[in-house]
């Protein structure tokens, strides 16, 4: 339900601005990826808790079911998840978690005023002090770690689920 004075078109416009990085540079890409990864990882976390909760009886957890129930639930879940779509999905989650973690640390440092340049007189063709080399390095570190997490997840999946 929308608040008073907020039209549907303005919500769509806001989402477009938030999700399309446009041609504003690396920092805007980082902003979009950070928000998307935050939302996706939160949704994954909820789904993950619900999925693993099924092993011990889901919402009827307070009356612990028999062992055979948990065993059957586990086997059914593994059977359901054992397909390429979930494999790719899990690898993407690995990428997003890796990125969100390191980029989050970069943002916390920036919010405390660390790893930024000092105010200096503007000069043509030089990037602003907030786009410091340390900030850029941390951004690329987060991308590198995210790619590593993606590859590691794919490798782990091929070894665990495809013996």
């Amino acid at each position: 339900m929308l608040a008073r004075g907020v039209s549907r078109s303005s919500v769509i416009q806001s989402l477009r601005v938030m999700l399309i990085p446009g041609r504003y540079g690396l920092e805007r890409w980082s902003y979009v990826l950070q928000r998307v990864s935050g939302v996706v990882v939160s949704l994954y976390f909820i789904a993950h808790v619900l999925e693993t909760g099924n092993f011990i009886g889901g919402i009827t957890v307070w009356s612990v079911p028999e062992y055979s129930f948990a065993e059957r639930a586990y086997e059914e879940t593994v059977k359901l998840l054992k397909n390429p779509i979930f494999d790719v999905g899990l690898a993407v989650i690995g990428f997003l978690v890796g990125f969100h973690t390191i980029n989050g640390i970069r943002l916390i440092l920036a919010h405390f005023g660390f790893s930024l340049g000092r105010p200096k007189r503007p000069e043509p063709f030089t990037p602003p002090p907030s786009f410091s080399s340390k900030q850029r390095a941390l951004f690329w570190l987060s991308i590198s770690l995210a790619v590593f997490a993606l590859l590691y997840t794919l490798d782990a999946l091929t070894r665990v689920f495809r013996p």
Partner: protein
Amino acid sequence: MVEKVKFRVFRYRPEDGGRGFYKEYEVPVKKGMTILDGLIYIKENIDPTLSVRYSCRMAICGSCGVRVNGVETLACHTQVLELRRRTIRVEPMRNYPLVKDLVTDMTPLFRKQKALMTWLIRRDTVEQENPTKQYLQSEEELERYLQFTYCIQCGLCYSACPVVSTFPDFYGPQPLMKAYRYYADSRDEGGEERVRLVDRFEGVWRCHFAGSCSAVCPKGVDPALAIQLLRRSALKG
């Protein structure tokens, strides 16, 4: 050498109501011609109903802020041929109420500036009005805020900010940067009060450091840096 470039200009007439639309104009372009020159050509030779705001034509007044091919820029500061496009999309700035065509109402920006008391505050107002001595600053003290005085209040940063788009109550880059400019000034005595004003949800805490404000500033000012420094001050208390 003269070549033809297509200007795809956003048109909006409040009397018609509803949404705006795009209209295309073919403009003869030569070396050195700016987007503003193109818009003036359209107004003088093709369509006199086109509305565009401008004044100095040399990137000093900050009146002609528009979005060219999706990025905020001063129309007088952007040369057509440097864009290397056959079609150029010109739209009004975002995050401001639209008045007509490319003209936006800058009231939200100035209202927020005023709310953050972006002026020099001295406790002794009598002395401020009639100073009895000079208030000298060292080079170091000057450097702390000088970069932020280059702002010409064109409002491009406010338009580029994705947070203002999703949360219009956010003060936005320019007003917060202006607040830091006075906070960092050694002559200012309103530091505590100013930090109290920005230390809130719609203040510094809503900035997500997307950096678009600093990326589009035609004067090289860095509002993203000012907001982070202001946030550090708010944390220190």
